[in-house]
Amino acid sequence: MSDPREPVFLERETYRVRRLMDAARFLPFLATFIFLIPLLFAPVAGTAVTVVYLFAGWVLLIGVAFGISRRLASSVDAGPTEEEGEG
């Protein structure tokens, strides 16, 4: 669906933002993966280990999401924020 008139190659800054968007799209898949892993080891490792693992994974994801969204927020800023201040 991309515009055929978009340039094929982008300058470095735009390129980084694009990859950041890719990372943001990929993150839920990583989250799913992390949260499904206990299916493999929980029956063996026991409840306490599973709890610790899940919370550790959770914190990790929050950290990554924090890093990505902090930088992406500026590019959302660049997007149209129409009807701001009308309400």
Partner: protein, 895 residues
């Protein structure tokens, strides 16, 4: 023991505090100081209504019963929230640009502002949310019961009346702050602020209880791990199908729950808040669930068997006589329950009034939108009544379900109910081909299967469905057993219901969309929603109509209020360059007006009302084509621009070339002029000199006079020849020459030329070898001119051939279309660098005055040959100088 009256007092105080917070927030917002009310933090906190009383009390109970499975309820939303960039951002953008008021509004608006879909989603939401509200009432009531002096007087505390009072209180709060005004953006500052405060209270309460349990009771994190290992929870075994299903279900519900949609999309004031919430809300969820397991294991270990694990959050602190902590915990639970009910009632009432009450009112009242009277009052009243009805339904559900034991089960049933919207929602924002028929089919199928496989069975065997139906299926059809549909037996009932309802829902949605054909409005909306980032301005849904702006103003005043409506009309009129209140009724204006109205009454109703006034001149296929045409025209225009700029480039290049040529020509002309003057001056000089001698020399001898006058005569001849040549060349170059074409043969012409040469040349100087044959080739040409060329070439050989015994070979090459005559001498030829120059004017390779020519001969030859349709060229590599004269043969047809 904490006194019950004190508890009620604190509770009432807390409610008053919330009222004040909401009131202050409204006041600030009215004064335009809403900035800090709308910070990312408040937005994130308002999302926490996901964590209801079910979370606050139920999660611990859930953990006590089913181990870590409770975590899936928070992992699903975490995944959705972390993936905000893909789904939520788009939803928020659509919600903001299209003035979406609820999830039913979104679905209805996307699928052609369909009233039917609005009703369907509203019904689904009401059915799905009612048990949830009942759940909240139950949790608050149970919490009250914990503190009630039950031991003293078993009948002294009436659970039902508590639930009733709570329901009434919540209804009042919601009515006051949720329906104060019909906001064009459907945003409620007071409510959002209040639930943000409640979000803080509940997390503080739960974390406080958790810290008390871990450090106060168990003695530290290390010990708590030991307690976990020793508790019955450690016997929990992960059930993969439930783990996956519940995670998915929670994520889906997070997107589809009406109250979540309200805070996520409708109350969102800035897309950037999502970026913050993407990590902050998962953090909130993580903190909320962090201490659930410790509280559960400690509760299981400390509390007497039979104690309700749903209430461990309250009973554990009470058991240790931490009454302050218990009070905080109670307020946390109270907050969770009330905030959820307030937002849910708000969202549902908006849906009910916009999609059920208003359409009925519109169609019932004759002339509906055109009659006078303030529609706003009707909208607000219908919302207030809807809030009352929703809470009454929740209360009734609570009464008649008898307050089911496990809170969590009810929550999951509600989740699956609202999750039926998921396929239509995802299709709405990602698939242009999704249609109204498909969405309606999918929703209906999903709703029915959910009711049949999960909702009705939840009332228990013999509740709504008889035991026989459970065992053998309705009418004895085993394939239709509610918990073993199509023979899928032996799996968890919830997983079973999720699987069948969502699978068949999606299937019906996709097939229905594939085989049906959308209306023009649907296609327009589909394109707008799916490509929301590209066209943030919505495509026009209105054609030209002949409605009076005054009628529109009347209607708008009644819906969004006189001041707002007049401000809007004045603004549009100004944009159109008009003065006053009444702009021209353009499709753009209708579209904008409809969007403003839909912010108050929903897309379908706004569309229907405008449709009534404008006589239903809505978008037609022609309008669609026009929109498409405009796009095509834009593309056409830009490609035209591109072609034009290409053409400009070409022209510039041509101009540059022409300029270079002109400059070169100018230089050539200057050179030509100086050459000419030089050539004229030389003979003139000698003529003048000798004629002066003759004038002065009276006693000159006759031999000398003879000699000098001969020189003068010769020079005059040379001048004449030069002028003749120049004239000839000029005539030829200007194309003014008239060719005297006639039939001739090549041999004839050659003979004449050679005869002319021999007549004036000294015999024996140049030996001409003429190859025999091919002389009879017919030509249709100017024989005199051709002979002139031949003479010129041969005489050149005479003049310039530097061999001791000069010899010229003339050979004829007869080709298909042309005939060539080669003149090759045996001299040293012409150096390569000069070969291109010899045909230029005044080009003489050596300055040989003796040669007696002005260097125009070959230039003239070239011009003549060009006129005759042939060519003269120098052929390199032939021992000596070689010239080839090429001629077209006589064409009978051409002649």
């Amino acid at each position: 023991m904490l006194s019950f009256n004190l508890l009620v007092g604190v509770c009432l105080g807390y409610v008053v505090f919330l009222f004040l917070v909401a009131f202050a927030a409204e006041r600030r917002a009215q004064r335009g100081k809403a900035a800090w009310l709308r910070s990312p933090l408040v937005y994130t906190l308002s999302l926490s209504i996901y964590c209801t009383g079910w979370t606050f009390y139920g999660a611990v109970g859930y953990a006590a019963r089913s181990g870590l499975e409770f975590l899936t309820i928070y992992l699903g939303p975490t995944i959705v929230m972390i993936g905000w960039w893909a789904i939520l951002r788009k939803l928020v953008r659509i919600g903001r640009t299209q003035r979406i008021t609820s999830i039913a509004d979104l679905i209805s608006s996307r699928y052609g502002k369909s009233a039917l879909l609005g009703v369907l989603v509203t019904v689904l939401a009401v059915v799905g949310t009612t048990p949830y509200i009942a759940l909240q009432l139950q949790s608050v009531t149970l919490a009250f019961a914990v503190f009630s002096p039950a031991t003293a007087d078993p009948q002294g505390f009436d659970l039902n009346s508590t639930a009733l009072w709570v329901a009434v209180g919540l209804a009042v709060f919601t009515v006051i702050f949720g329906t104060r005004n019909l906001d064009v953006n459907e945003r409620h500052h007071g409510v959002v602020m209040a639930i943000a405060v409640e979000a803080v209270v509940k997390i503080v309460a739960l974390v406080a209880v958790g810290i008390f349990v871990v450090w106060g009771v168990a003695g530290g994190p290390r010990e708590i791990v030991g307690v976990i290992e020793a508790s019955p929870i450690s016997l929990w075994e992960i059930q993969p199908e439930r783990w996956v299903t519940l995670t998915f279900l929670a994520g889906a519900a997070f997107l589809c729950l009406p109250r979540m949609f309200q805070v996520l999309v409708v109350e969102n004031s800035d897309e950037r808040h999502l970026a913050t919430a993407s990590w902050a809300f998962p953090l909130y969820l993580m903190l909320i669930s962090l201490f659930v397991v410790p509280i559960a294991v400690v509760g299981l270990a400390m509390m007497p068997t039979g104690a309700n694990p749903d209430l461990f959050v309250l009973t554990v602190p009470l058991a240790f006589d931490r009454e302050g902590l218990a009070m905080l915990s109670f307020l946390g639970g109270f907050s969770s329950a009330t905030s959820m009910v307030i937002v849910a009632a708000l969202a549902l009432s908006t849906m009910v009034s916009n999609h059920i009450v208003l359409p009925i009112w519109l169609s019932a009242g004759q002339g509906g939108a055109t009659v006078s009277g303030d529609v706003r009052q009707i909208v607000l009243m219908s919302r207030r009544i809807s809030i009352g009805v929703v809470l009454a339904l929740g209360y009734l559900y609570y009464r008649f379900s008898g307050g089911g034991e496990a809170l969590a089960a009810m929550g999951l049933i509600a989740f699956l109910g609202v999750a039926q919207v998921l396929p239509a929602l995802m299709g709405a924002i990602f698939w242009r081909g999704a249609t109204r028929v498909g969405a309606a089919l999918g929703l209906t199928v999903g709703l029915l299967i959910w009711l049949y496989t999960l909702y009705l069975p939840s009332f228990g065997v013999g509740g709504v469905l008889t035991e026989a139906t459970f065992e053998n299926g309705p009418w004895g059809v085993a394939a239709l057993r509610p918990q073993a549909l199509f023979g899928l037996e032996g799996i968890d009932p919830l997983v079973h219901a999720v699987f069948w309802s969502l699978a068949l829902n999606t299937l019906a949605f996709v097939i229905g969309s594939l085989v049906s054909f959308p209306s023009p409005l649907e296609r327009l909306q589909g394109a707008t929603f799916v490509n929301i980032y590209r066209y943030s301005d919505s495509a026009r849904g209105w054609g030209r109509s002949f409605v009076e702006a005054e009628d529109l103003l009347m209607m708008a005043q009644r819906i969004i209020g006189p001041q707002e409506a007049q401000a809007l009309f004045v603004a549009v009129a100004q944009e159109q360059g008009k003065k006053g209140y009444l702009p021209d009724v353009t499709p753009e204006f209708l579209e904008r007006l409809e969007r403003e109205l839909s912010g108050s009454v929903g897309a379908a109703t706004a569309h229907a009302m405008l449709g009534q006034i404008t006589g239903g001149v809505t978008v037609s296929v022609e309008d669609l084509m026009r929109v498409a045409d405009e796009t095509a025209q834009m593309m056409e225009y830009s490609s035209q621009l591109e072609a034009k700029s290409d053409e400009l480039g070409r022209t510039a290049r041509q101009l540059r070339e022409a300029n270079e040529k002109l400059t070169a020509l100018s230089i050539q002309k200057d050179a030509f002029l100086s050459q000419i003057s030089h050539e004229l001056r030389t003979p003139m000089t000698s003529i003048r000199a000798f004629s002066e001698i003759l004038m002065d020399g009276d006693q000159m001898e006759s031999a000398d006079r003879q000699k000098y006058s001969t020189i003068i005569h010769d020079e005059t001849l040379r001048l004449t020849r030069l002028l003749d040549d120049l004239l000839d060349l000029s005539v030829l170059e200007n194309g003014q020459v008239t060719l005297n074409a006639r039939d001739a043969t090549l041999g004839e012409v050659l003979d004449r030329a050679l005869a002319a040469i021999e007549s004036r040349a000294e015999p024996g100087m140049l030996k001409i070898v003429r190859e025999k044959g091919a002389g009879a080739i017919p030509l249709y040409t100017d024989a005199d001119r051709l002979a002139q060329v031949f003479i010129n070439v041969v005489s050149n050989a005479q003049k310039y051939c530097d061999a001791d015994a000069p010899e010229l070979t003339i050979s004829i090459i007869d080709a298909e279309e042309t005939v060539s005559v080669d003149f090759v001498d045996n001299g040293s030829g012409i150096p390569k660098k000069s070969q291109t120059l010899i045909f230029e004017k005044f080009a003489r390779l050596t300055d040989q005055q003796a040669a007696g020519g002005a260097g125009l001969g070959l230039a003239i030859c070239r011009e003549i040959m060009a006129r005759l349709g042939g060519d003269i060229s120098y052929v390199p590599g032939q021992r000596g100088a070689a010239f080839r004269v090429t001629l077209p043969k006589a064409h009978r047809a051409a002649a």
